[in-house]
């Protein structure tokens, strides 16, 4: 009996550790994504000069980041709450829609990466499309917390 209890508590601990990992993993991925977007956005915002080479690098990094997004691994059942998560329960209520939103984002990042902007106006358009995907997903699947 005691051994059973020990086993159960180890399993429970492992599961909660895994949940905590998933939450911090997805937050790290999103933070990295924001940082890469920042390089591009600063150019459209006028804080940095337009640099075609920088744009190319950033778009490559953005695609690599997007390809690492695995909804099943990052949003396992049991991670609806906990940590500093701002996830909406809608992720699990509509996992298909959630994955579709991420796929759309990935497709648009890939399209931009296939033809990186070589002038500021094109970059604005590309970032507008990608940023629209950020907003669409955060509109449905994130809840702002205090």
């Amino acid at each position: 009996m005691r051994r059973f209890l020990v086993a159960v508590s180890i399993l429970a601990f492992a599961a909660s550790a895994a949940s905590a990992d998933a939450i911090s993993d997805r937050q790290a991925l999103m933070k990295e994504r924001g940082k890469i977007v920042g390089t591009l956005a600063k150019m459209t915002k006028g804080e940095l000069p337009f640099e075609a080479a920088e744009v190319k690098n950033a778009l490559q990094a953005l695609q690599a980041n997007a390809e690492r997004f695995d909804a099943d691994a990052l949003f396992p059942a049991g991670t609806e709450t906990g940590g500093e998560t701002t996830v909406s329960p809608k992720v699990w209520e509509d996992m298909t829609g959630f994955k579709a939103a991420e796929d759309k984002y990935l497709a648009n990042v890939k399209a931009a990466n296939a033809a990186p902007a070589d002038d500021l106006d094109t970059l604005k358009t590309q970032l507008g499309t990608v940023g629209g995907d950020c907003a669409a997903c955060h509109k449905a699947f994130r809840i702002k917390k205090g």
Binding site: G34, H138, I143, G146
Partner: protein, 317 residues
């Protein structure tokens, strides 16, 4: 003794009748005066499109989850679940039966600035006329002209589902006596720059930012002492952020940061807009950069307040 009882009963009756009559008068729906209606003007649909986006009409009245061009199908149906019950945004397309196609410009102005329907009934302040009451009548005239250019859509939205006593429309008359007025929220000195004044108009009037970004009192009215301090989200969980420069707010956002956020949806640390603000930002992106700069200039001017919502509960352990 008997006579006394009779007299007091009569007195009580007088009080009740007078109270009811007084209450009836106090709660009576009031429309705009002729002088205000005369300012509606002929209406310019091009200018009205700007007002349509500034006022965020499609955020509530488009079919829920509509994107792009479909946002102009103003069929209604969005549910707003609040402590008072569920409000359902109605059809405001040009359909004469299901929408507002039969309304005159005066009808639209009375609805937006006085919260009164063409038939003379009170509208619920879930429709943000407490903000729209601060608009220039000529902007309503322009909006009316723009709405006329949008195609009609058939379909009646469901009725509101409200708890007693909030389901009694007449009671809104009292609410209006307390909370409806056209004066600005933030008093600004005479030498205030034009840009800030223009921003005040957009934020406090058509933009109705305070409706979500300010906490509400027991009567569901915006608490002007905590103007734009952020609030618990009216529906469900989560919060609407503090957009003053108080603690927890956006003091570290420059005016340019605010304008860029409204244009692009990116915060200064390049997180993105989300929640209900995503639609608002999409509307703000349709405005001119001068309008967005005006909003930013005003937000940098409003009195700072600490967060208008409780701090997040930290998980135990």
């Amino acid at each position: 003794m008997r006579a006394w009882r009779k007299r007091s009963a009569a007195a009580a009756l007088v009080v009740v009748v007078a109270g009811a009559a007084g209450g009836w008068l106090l709660t009576a729906p009031e429309k705009l005066d002729a002088q205000t209606l005369a300012q509606l003007g002929p209406g310019d649909a091009v200018k009205g499109e700007r007002i349509f986006h500034a006022a965020g009409c499609s955020s509530c009245h488009a079919r829920p989850k509509a994107e792009g061009e479909a946002k102009l199908e103003l069929v209604g149906g969005l549910e707003l679940k609040t402590p008072f019950g569920t409000f359902v945004a109605p059809n405001i397309s040009q359909d004469a039966e299901d929408g507002i196609g039969a309304w005159s410009a005066e009808d639209l102005a009375n609805a937006m600035m006085k919260g009164v329907s063409p038939s003379g009934e009170h509208l619920y302040p879930a429709f943000p006329y407490a903000s729209y009451a601060r608009m220039h009548p000529s902007d309503i005239g322009d909006l009316y002209a723009f709405l006329k250019t949008i195609p009609p859509v058939k379909g009646k939205a469901a009725a509101n589902d409200l708890r007693f006593p909030f389901n009694i429309r007449r009671g809104i008359g009292l609410w209006k006596r307390l909370y409806l007025g056209s004066e600005p929220v933030v008093a600004l000195p005479e030498d205030t720059p034009e840009l800030v004044l223009a921003g005040r108009y957009l934020v406090e009037g058509p933009g109705h930012c305070g409706e979500c970004h300010t906490p509400r009192n027991f009567a569901g009215a915006v608490d002007k002492a905590q103007w734009l301090a952020g609030a618990p989200a009216a529906e469900g969980t989560g919060i609407v952020p503090n957009i003053t420069s108080g603690e927890g707010g956006i003091a570290d956002w420059s005016a340019q940061d605010i304008a860029y956020y409204l244009e692009s949806g990116f915060t200064p640390d390049f997180d993105s807009v989300g929640g209900a603000m995503a639609d608002v930002q999409a509307n703000m992106a349709q405005l001119t950069s001068a309008d967005r700069e005006a909003i930013a200039a005003y937000l940098k001017t409003v009195p700072p307040h600490p967060n208008g919502y409780p701090a997040r509960q930290k998980p135990a352990g």
